[in-house]
């Protein structure tokens, strides 16, 4: 199977329009106001699919669909958001469990029929779907088992985030297409051969990125003594204008570097503010009794960002047998979207869509979280993947002793 940029762009637009149609149905029924914020297509390890929902309490509905495209789709509300929706349909209905459940099922049925119908219309076929199955709980309970394909550890996930205007509530539409029907549809709707990336190379690239994240986590642990684990790594595809939204509106401290070579682009290492203070203190030779970031803290974070960046990109360079240069790190301290906006604008001068690489790391010891986001030039990434020798995928580490 080859994945081509034209197909990904078309599928992304379809999923986005489907989510807009589903959201319009919801708004019409409830009188609430909501907009589709981001739609992205992600290639992710099946074990990590539910990670984003792991900490919350959710309700929703699942459907199976079958036809030229087949798979599962899920509509996910956080529980308090669903109660507001139910109350807007049936005042006081959220108090009655059976009524609440029935309302969510019916809302889901109407919303998701619109979502699936959009795909059927595009493919000029019919896609059947099952009656809704009510689900509740955390991420593992909300999402279906990904398509059973023992040959593949990674699955495509289509995900839309819908923001509820005036409320701090979001809901999500997930779609998990089965691999073979998706491959057939992509082959039919694909662009030119120049656009195509063999799926095995994308998967290898995703694995290399995971290795890079693990190396970056190991570097954090060595520099701070904080036991750190790489958690999730995703390769996503989204319209360039949606990229800043994915980082969100929380405030981050971190570093930005521009890298050049094949591929070129930007790499961000971001810590939430509390993590930044914790980690900088852990790196200081003398413990500092400060809650605010001092110049010394900032210098420590800058250097950590530098070392994490290298841990992340060196593996690409070694596997591709090239060098990836990067600028010295620039410290950033701002709202996530404000950090990413100018970078996306720069990358967007040459492309409409972007591959985005997201990694997260966490620790149980102290409050600590870090994210790595890479925004490579799409054409150059395709060129790099074209040159990638799958059999060199494990050659991420260089041996200094051999060279010196």
């Amino acid at each position: 199977m080859k994945v081509d940029v034209k197909s990904l762009g078309t599928f992304n637009r379809l999923a986005h329009e489907g989510a807009e149609q589903a959201t319009a149905s919801l708004c019409q029924m409830t009188g609430l106001d909501a907009v589709v914020d981001v739609t992205k297509i992600t290639l992710v390890n099946r074990a990590d699919v539910g990670d984003q929902l792991s900490d919350g309490d959710y309700v929703g509905v699942q459907f199976e669909f079958d036809g030229e495209l087949a798979g599962d789709t899920v509509l996910v509300f956080d529980r308090s958001g669903s109660e507001t929706i139910v109350d807007s349909l049936v005042p006081g209905g959220a108090e009655d469990d059976a009524m609440a459940r029935s309302s969510v099922e019916e809302i889901g049925n109407i919303m998701m029929s619109g979502f699936i119908d959009g795909w059927a219309d595009f493919l000029e076929t019919t896609i059947e779907h099952s009656p809704p199955t009510y689900v509740e709980g955390d991420g593992a309970a909300m999402l279906p088992e990904p398509p059973n394909d023992e040959e593949r550890d990674q699955v495509f996930v289509f995900k839309s985030e819908i923001e509820w205007i005036g409320e701090s509530v979001s809901f999500y539409i997930y779609m998990f297409p089965e691999y073979d029907p998706l491959a057939d549809v992509m082959a039919r709707t694909g662009g030119t051969e120049d656009d195509a990336i063999p799926i095995d190379k994308l998967e290898v690239f995703n694995e290399m990125t995971k290795d890079g994240t693990q190396q970056a986590a190991a570097n954090v642990e060595m520099m701070t003594g904080i036991e750190t684990e790489a958690e999730v790594t995703r390769l996503s595809f989204a319209p360039i204008e949606d990229v800043p939204k994915q980082v969100g509106t929380d405030t981050y401290v971190g570093t930005v570097v521009e890298f050049t070579g094949i591929p070129s682009g930007f790499l961000l290492v971001l810590f939430d503010e509390a993590s930044a203070v914790h980690i900088a203190e852990a790196m200081m030779p003398v413990e500092m009794d400060e809650d605010e970031l001092t110049d010394q803290h900032k210098s420590a974070i800058e250097e950590l960002g530098n070392i994490m960046t290298s841990g992340f990109v060196d593996g690409w360079a070694n596997v591709l047998q090239t060098s990836v240069e990067h600028t010295p790190p620039r410290l950033v301290h701002d709202m996530g979207q404000a950090i990413v906006d100018p970078l996306a604008a720069q990358v967007g001068q040459h492309q409409e869509h972007a591959f985005i690489i997201d990694s997260e790391m966490r620790t149980d010891d102290i409050e600590f979280g870090a994210e790595i986001h890479a925004l490579p030039n799409e054409k150059e990434l395709r060129q790099a993947l074209d040159e990638l020798l799958v059999e060199r995928a494990d050659e991420t580490q260089a041996d200094v002793e051999k060279i010196f």
């Binding site: 570097n219 060595m222 520099m223 790196m283 030779p285 110049d295 010394q296 210098s299 420590a300 800058e302 250097e303 530098n306 070392i307 960046t309 290298s310 841990g311 060196d314 360079a317 070694n318 047998q321 090239t322 060098s323 990836v324 240069e325 990067h326 600028t327 010295p328 580490q397 260089a398 041996d399 200094v400 060279i403 010196f404």
Partner: protein
């Protein structure tokens, strides 16, 4: 006791290296970029330069090349976060005598220095 020049754009890393080295070595200077590294080398003629690679204005490989051209007997250890094979080969071509990747522990730094500038 060897005279050592530290070239790194990170204040944090210069402090860390100074703390590791100052017990056994004489730190003759700390600079933030490749241009300052070359100038300070030519003024001080230290026994050893601990040279970062990714620095503003002029990177550490270019600076190493210039130092080695001015004095082939100069001793330079690259001390960098970059772990790319091609970059290591570039460092060899520039004349670097050793290569340490960050993050590092004191023993690995002392071992690399002992290899290049035996006490």
């Amino acid at each position: 006791m060897s005279d050592v020049l530290i070239a790194d754009d990170s204040e944090f890393m210069r402090n860390l290296l100074r703390e590791i080295l100052e017990e056994d070595h004489n730190i003759v200077g700390e600079v933030e970029n490749g241009v300052e590294a070359v100038e300070t080398y030519k003024e001080q003629h230290p026994d050893l330069v601990m040279m970062d690679i990714v620095m503003p204005i002029r990177d550490g490989i270019e600076a190493t090349d210039e130092i080695k051209n001015s004095n082939p007997d100069a001793n330079v250890i690259m001390c960098t976060s970059v772990g790319q094979e091609e970059k290591m080969k570039e460092a060899v071509r520039a004349g670097a005598d050793g290569y340490i990747t960050k993050p590092f522990q004191k023993p690995s730094v002392m071992e690399a220095i002992e290899d290049v500038v035996p006490s």
